[in-house]
Symmetry: C2
Subunit: 207 residues, 2 copies
C-alpha cells in the first residue's frame, strides 16, 4: 500500500531527524529512532539500509533547508542594504523554526568534513551558481559608487551569518552565563536581536 509506505518513511525521517540532531551521528541509537517512530528496528533497515545512509538523508535535508532562501535573496535585484536586512529577517525566522540544524551541521562537518564534498557532488547547483561571485560583484560595485565603505565580501558574509547563527548555536553557554538560564528571556533576546543586528551591520559599513 503506497500510502502506508509514504507514511512509514515520513515517520522514520521525522524520528531520525529528532534523534540525530539532538545526539549527533555517533550518539544516536537506531533503537531510539525506531521507538520514536513507533516501529520495529528491522524496519529502519528495510527502508534505509544502514545507519550511515539514514544519517546522510537527514543531514542532506537539514542542509537543504538553509540553501534555497540564501540563493533567492543573494541573487535578487535588491541593493546590498536591503539584501542584508532581508537576509537577517528571513534567516532568523528560519532559525526559530529549526534551531538545532546549525549546531548539528557544524558539529557533523567538524567530525567529517568530507560530507560537504558529497553534498557538492549531488547538488552542483550550489557551487555552479557563482553565487559568491555575483554577490561580490554587487558589493564592490556599491563600494565604487560610494554607497558602502570598502569591504571584503567574505568578511562581510562571515559577519552577517555569524551574528545570526552564533547566538543560536552557542545558546546553552550564552543563556547560562548572561541570562541566568532563563529560557523565555533568551527567546526574547533572540527576537529583539533582529533589528539590533541589522543596525549593527549597516552602521558599520555605511559611508
Amino acid at each position: 500500500m503506497v500510502n502506508q509506505q509514504k507514511d512509514t518513511e515520513t515517520k522514520i525521517l521525522d524520528a531520525a531527524k529528532d534523534v540525530f540532531q539532538q545526539k549527533g551521528m555517533t550518539g544516536a541509537r537506531m533503537q531510539e529512532i525506531a521507538d520514536k517512530a513507533g516501529i520495529n528496528k528491522a524496519l529502519l533497515h528495510y527502508y534505509y539500509r544502514t545507519k550511515e545512509k539514514l544519517f546522510e538523508k537527514v543531514f542532506n535535508i537539514a542542509f537543504s533547508i538553509f540553501i534555497p532562501k540564501m540563493q533567492e535573496i543573494m541573487l535578487s535585484e535588491k541593493p546590498v542594504f536591503e539584501k542584508i536586512e532581508f537576509f537577517i529577517d528571513n534567516y532568523m525566522d528560519l532559525l526559530t523554526k529549526h534551531p538545532y540544524i546549525p549546531g548539528f551541521v557544524i558539529n557533523e562537518l567538524n567530525r567529517n568534513p568530507q560530507i560537504l564534498v558529497n553534498i557538492f557532488e549531488k547538488n552542483i547547483q550550489i557551487k555552479e551558481n557563482k553565487l559568491f561571485e555575483k554577490f561580490d560583484a554587487q558589493i564592490q560595485a556599491e563600494v565604487q559608487k560610494g554607497i558602502i565603505k570598502p569591504i571584503d565580501t567574505r568578511n562581510l558574509m562571515t559577519n552577517v551569518i555569524g551574528l545570526i547563527v552564533f547566538p543560536v548555536v552557542a545558546r546553552p553557554i550564552i543563556q547560562g552565563i548572561m541570562f541566568d538560564n532563563d529560557k523565555k528571556q533568551y527567546d526574547a533576546f533572540l527576537k529583539q536581536r533582529k533589528d539590533f543586528v541589522k543596525e549593527f551591520i549597516i552602521n558599520s559599513i555605511k559611508v
Copy 2:
C-alpha cells in the same frame, strides 16, 4: 615513582583531549585514547574511573582555558574600545592555539546543558565575580558620556564573541563554500580578520 605517575596522567590527558575534542564524548573510544597514550586500556580506568569522569576532566580543562583571560580583560581599567581590541587580539590568538575547543564545548553543551551547572558549582568565581555587571556598568557609563552609542551590553558581547568564534567553529563549511577548501587561504583569512573585526565593531558603536 611520583614522576612516572605524573607522566602517565599527562599522557592520558593529552590523548583524551585529542580524541574527545575531535570525536566528542559519544564518538570517543577508550581504546583509542589508550592507544594514543601508549598504555593499556585498564590503566585509563585506574587513573580515571569512568569514561564520564575522564571526559569531565578534559571538558573542564578546555573550558578553563578561555575564562581567565576574559576576566582579566573585562575587569581591567581600560576604556571600552581598548578592551574590545585587546579582547579580540587575545582571543583570536588563543583560538589559533586551540581551534577545536569552542566547537567541542558548544557541541557537548548542546548535548547536555547540565555540564555548565556543574562547572558553576565547582568554580563559583565565574558567576560570583559580577563580571557582567561591572562590564555593563562601564558600557553604560561610556554611553552616558557620549563615547559610544546607546547599546545593550549583552548584544554587544554576543557580537564580539560571535565574530571571533564563529569563523573557527564553522570553519569546514565556510572554508568549503567560500575558500574552495584551501586551508592556507583560510588561515590567512583568519589572521587578517583580527583588524577587520576590530574596525567592524568600533565603526558600529562609536558615536
